[in-house]
């Protein structure tokens, strides 16, 4: 695993598992997005599975979203919430919608529109990950850690500890402190060190 901080790029030299293949295939249909939360830890070796992968995209005009929706469906995915793109567009204003392979609800992609500064930060500062020559974009590791500490379940703290331990010498510690403080979780940060 090689992390080039200046290029914001991590290269993984490993075979794709079935979850990676699902993510890579789905993400290849999108132009601008960032993957956040649990899958990021799994991508870097966390020894657990997941049923969903969280993904953020910037706000889209209705027509643009319809094109994306049609493209996703054409490639063998289905929206688990509705088959109507108009309805999906309206739902996205309120909550995430999920896409999976047709007839296979797990795993699924939890598809969300960027709605706040934290999510916008993740999208703007995304990192490129190359895995077996495939490309995906993930949230910056510092935000990944801070966000997981904020969620706070045992699973989330374990995910944060995995990333922290793995990239300890590459992380921007000041940025982690700043983000974690913003969430008011500095006590949790001590737990994972």
């Amino acid at each position: 695993m090689k992390y080039n901080i200046n290029e914001k790029k991590i290269v993984l030299n490993r075979e794709l598992n079935n979850l990676d293949k699902f993510v890579v295939n789905f993400c290849s249909l999108l132009e601008e997005y960032v993957i956040v939360s649990g899958y990021v830890s799994i991508l870097f070796g966390r020894s657990r599975g997941t049923e969903d992968v969280d993904l953020l995209i910037p706000r889209k005009e209705k027509g643009v979203f319809f094109k994306i929706f049609e493209k996703i469906e054409k490639e063998g995915f289905e929206c688990l919430n509705t088959s109507k793109k108009e309805e999906a567009f309206e739902m996205l204003k309120e909550h995430a919608i999920r896409f999976s392979r047709k007839g296979k609800p797990i795993p699924n992609m939890e598809f969300k529109i960027v709605k706040n500064d934290i999510e916008n930060y993740s999208l703007k500062n995304k990192i490129l990950v190359e895995i077996d020559s495939k490309k995906i974009y993930i949230s910056p590791l510092e935000m990944q850690i801070a966000y997981k500490l904020n969620l706070g379940s045992d699973k989330d703290l374990e995910d944060a500890k995995h990333i922290y331990t793995l990239f300890e010498d590459k992380l921007d510690k000041k940025e982690i402190d700043r983000l974690v403080e913003k969430f008011g979780k500095l006590d949790k940060l001590e737990e994972i060190k």
């Binding site: 695993m1 993984l12 030299n13 490993r14 075979e15 598992n17 079935n18 979850l19 990676d20 699902f22 799994i42 870097f44 070796g45 966390r46 020894s47 657990r48 599975g49 797990i106 795993p107 045992d154 703290l157 374990e158 500890k161 995995h162 331990t165 793995l166 737990e191 994972i192």
Partner: protein
Amino acid sequence: MKFKIDKEKLKKAKNEKERNRIERMEFVKFWANYVKTHKDKEWSKQQNIIINSQVK
């Protein structure tokens, strides 16, 4: 590379649940260090067994 638990941390545990939590966190650290010090293909072979058994 051996998995050793910090006994001082365990002593601070108030109950079994807390003890279990500490042990899990220690294993997360052990595994992250394993990933850090081994080739991607080596650790991922083990991880893929878990993932591929859950996602077909």
